[in-house]
Subunit: 370 residues, 2 copies
């Protein structure tokens, strides 16, 4: 632990980001704490109230627009590499939240990044994207008040990437992303295009824009904020704002949910038995014996089962507070909590899958995929 | 000064010290000498006969297609930064030559490169490009048997650049181009797209393609040949061939014509008085006094006035050989030769400008510029 404390935090959007101490991000990267803005939020979302969204850059700009009902945008997206999981679910819900608060919403299918980073050909990613967009619609995204697009097909984003290329030295790219394939640098420029497209004339010009992301994506924000300033004269860009949510722990006790560890996560489209099994095998904050747990209580702070409830599945704040205290007091044991959680998750998943099926055709239409 | 052996080559009388440098390119870069293929060329062009085109890569592939009348393509282009000069004239004539020998011809307006390298905004480069394309048409390019396009507007080229990004490491880019802005690396990928687009299905699939360029452009060829091999499985690319012409000396005696030295070059659209003045002030291979020159003869090998005649303005091989020998023998003095050259150049330029005017509308139509 003492050595871990000395380890420098690396926020790498294409690698593994494990944050040991979120507080240090405030100092090291200039991320601002979100907590201080919470009381001013007209209608704070669940992730905000619970501290899952812990940091931001320049969110005041967006907050002012929300308060004074002026125009603003929300922009984020998904890398179409597979089915929705709890990470992409979080981003989707954040976008939908801001859309419901009045933002024009942009949802980007980052197929260029999926290609450059994960070698997924465009013929494949467009199929995956149809499912992802159906998920987004099933969760409540309103396509009439937003824009869903694929990077590869959105010429405005790619044109911005070409323009931005001149503003970025190799030294900057290396400082932000390390030594990478040129394609990955290109996809970073495209991503900057994604973030600033909402401010083009075609979308009613410059406006505060919030980009809700996992903190591992901060590199893209830093690059884009720099580019927004370099190209301000031409486009009149307002520097984009961001909010950062925490990275979820793996169900198996690993520091992060990750594809290469199937027991660490589940998608919304796995078989119920598979999801149930993963929860039942999950690492918890429980004690070695029932006796000890009754006596000492559990440790929800390190428990991934508690975490998925708190992040996603227990919507009522009073309910989650009760779970927390019942665990701490030793009243609620891990087996019982796992059973409760499995039921809630499977109910959600079943209902979601039913809804989602109805949106497949709409998703195809939006993405212009046959 | 090198040897009797070289002086025997009547149509390559200028090849002295500079050829020694070019020889080094054969060893250092693996460029092949063009001379050995010359006797096999069905109808060699002026630049070939005179050794201006001195090297190639894999040109045999193209030669075989020419001999057996199978399909092949020629691809090159222009960076739209200003009016046609003698360098862009050379490339244009090379493309037209191959088109007349049966190639499908591709002429690329490298506006992305002009932006990334020379900071020329697209609104400006499209205007410049209209003039450039009118020049090309006036020189004899047949748009019915070719494709003229802007990089920024040609999606197929940009799509290839995105695909290729994954195949290029930063180390490769640095080895080929040095430390550059990311935009320049991007424009190199786009250029690889230009070179390989003629082999896409839309253009009748894989075929030998010759890229006639100045030897300073070889880096693009090396990168593209590498990419053609990396993406062979997907596209069935045939590795592109190239021919290399020598770089012209500056009229003012500098080693290269360059924009920053206005007396080193002229465009085809300068005022006749300006062109005449530049030729009259030009450095030559003459001797300090008339007496010495009558006695020792001039040195056409180092003379840029002789060079522009030999490269561009004296079309008959016998005529240029006569000039060479008259200079060497002391019969033709620099003043007289400058006067002759000025007349030939100004006649060409006047006639060209008249023709070009008629092609402006066609150029606008091809480039879809209003």
């Amino acid at each position: 632990m003492s050595t871990a404390k000395k380890r420098k935090t690396v926020l790498d959007p294409w690698g593994t980001t494990i944050v040991e101490d979120y507080n240090r991000l405030y100092e090291e990267f200039g991320i601002q704490p979100f907590k201080s803005l919470l009381s001013e939020m007209p209608n704070p979302g669940m992730y905000m109230r619970r501290g899952v969204i812990f940091g931001h850059r320049d969110f005041e700009l967006v907050l002012n627009s929300m308060k004074s009902r002026e125009k603003f945008a929300v922009m984020s997206g998904i890398k179409p590499t597979g089915e929705f999981h709890l990470g992409t679910l979080m981003t989707a819900r954040e976008i939908i939240y801001f859309q419901q608060q009045g933002a024009t919403a942009f949802y980007c299918i980052a197929d260029i990044e999926a290609y450059e980073d994960n070698k997924i050909p465009f013929e494949k990613s467009e199929k995956i994207a149809v499912g992802n967009v159906a998920d987004l619609l099933a969760l409540g995204f309103d396509p009439e008040r937003g824009c869903i697009y694929r990077q590869y097909k959105e010429q405005r984003v790619r044109d911005l990437a070409v323009l931005f290329g001149r503003g970025v030295t190799l030294a900057t790219m290396k400082a932000i992303y390390g030594e990478r394939n040129i394609g990955l640098y290109l996809s970073a420029l495209v991503q900057a295009g994604d973030i600033l497209m909402p401010q083009l004339k075609d979308f009613d010009g410059p406006k505060p824009t919030v980009v809700p992301v996992g903190v591992d994506q901060d590199a893209h924000l830093r690059l884009t904020r720099d580019l927004a300033s370099k190209f301000r004269r031409k486009f009149n860009f307002i520097s984009p704002s961001s909010t950062y949510h925490k990275i979820m722990k793996g169900l198996d006790g690993s520091p992060k949910m990750a594809k290469r560890s199937p027991m660490s996560y589940f998608t919304l489209h796995e078989k119920p038995e598979s999801i149930a099994k993963k929860i039942s095998y999950a690492f918890t904050g429980g004690r070695p014996t029932v006796e000890e747990q009754r006596k000492l209580g559990g440790v929800p702070e390190i428990c991934p089962v508690y975490e998925i409830c708190m992040y996603h599945f227990v919507e009522d704040d009073d309910d989650i507070v009760r779970v927390y205290h019942d665990c701490k007091s030793g009243k609620l044991l891990c087996g019982e909590h796992k059973a409760q959680t499995t039921e809630i998750v499977l109910n959600f998943v079943r209902e979601h899958q039913l809804k989602r099926r109805k949106f497949i055709d709409k998703a195809r239409e939006i993405l212009q995929v046959n």
